[in-house]
Symmetry: C2
Subunit: 163 residues, 2 copies
Amino acid sequence: MYSIGDIASIMGISTSAIRFYDKQGLLPFVERDSGGRRKFKKQDLNFIEVIDCLKKSGVPVKDIGHFVHMCMQGDGTLRARYDYLDEEEQTLMNHIDEMQHQLDFLRYKKWYYKTSVEAGTESIHFAPQTNMVDPGTKAEYQAELEHCTNIRKLIDLEQSEEA
Amino acid sequence: MYSIGDIASIMGISTSAIRFYDKQGLLPFVERDSGGRRKFKKQDLNFIEVIDCLKKSGVPVKDIGHFVHMCMQGDGTLRARYDYLDEEEQTLMNHIDEMQHQLDFLRYKKWYYKTSVEAGTESIHFAPQTNMVDPGTKAEYQAELEHCTNIRKLIDLEQSEEA
DNA sequence: TGTTGACTTAAACACTAGTTTAAGTAGTAG
DNA sequence: CTACTACTTAAACTAGTGTTTAAGTCAACA
């Protein structure tokens, strides 16, 4: 048996967050002791694990509530629960893909600034006689990235040594 | 030159969102025409691209504002801008890692429900004489995952055919 | 010469995801 | 017996991220 405080430290969140989740219907399975305090059972940790995963995956509280609600209905909702997780898997894969694209762009920008810092000015990347970034800059980066075995060498700036 | 509406469709967001960003200090570089309307220049698209990337990476509007503010200060902030993107790269990599962990767990749960659906009941995963998931269930999944070349075969349920 | 559509602002509103506050209960330690 | 700690509730509050509304401006088109 676990108190709300135990669960809070297991999940690494505050007790008020747990009470909030309860109010939103995420914890219909928790029982109470004689004094009205929440008592989490061993098997409740399975729910906690799933809720934690969905939360960390960016699923809104309301949606997690729907899933938990289905769990409480018994074997009749097994297929629906599977289908829900299937959709969630796709959503999460798309999200990871998106993050990877942003990471790629961020690394281009790191290269842009690394080379600017080394040159002492951003203007090395500007088209002649303008304040605009040369349209060929990104292609230049991608070409360097092609025949580069370690992206760190390309985009990481050495720490300037502390005197 | 682009109007606010042009930029909105380029970024795939609403014009009110752009005005909101402007008010939060993300767009100090936009100029206005004689009528007071925002006029985005070609070179502003470089900013838009970075803002869009940071937004999609989950960076709070306020932080993006700080970065843009540094950009307006000229070459003196090049190193600070690099350092900022360096931190952001680390944050984003950690985030992707975290998402990947959640994806792994989600797939375990898909397997759990796939096998339950096939058996017609979740109780196949319960420890004998209890309503608790058997503590060895996850290890069982991981063992199957080990000698499995295609995770789809392990966790995807065939579509039940429409009559 | 309207009137239409895209723009402008400030201010109010909405939604999510909690946190904080105030008032109270219950068990334990000294 | 008192103090302390962890818990309880309802309700108010906050932060972040926009959207909506109301009132107005401006350029172009029939």
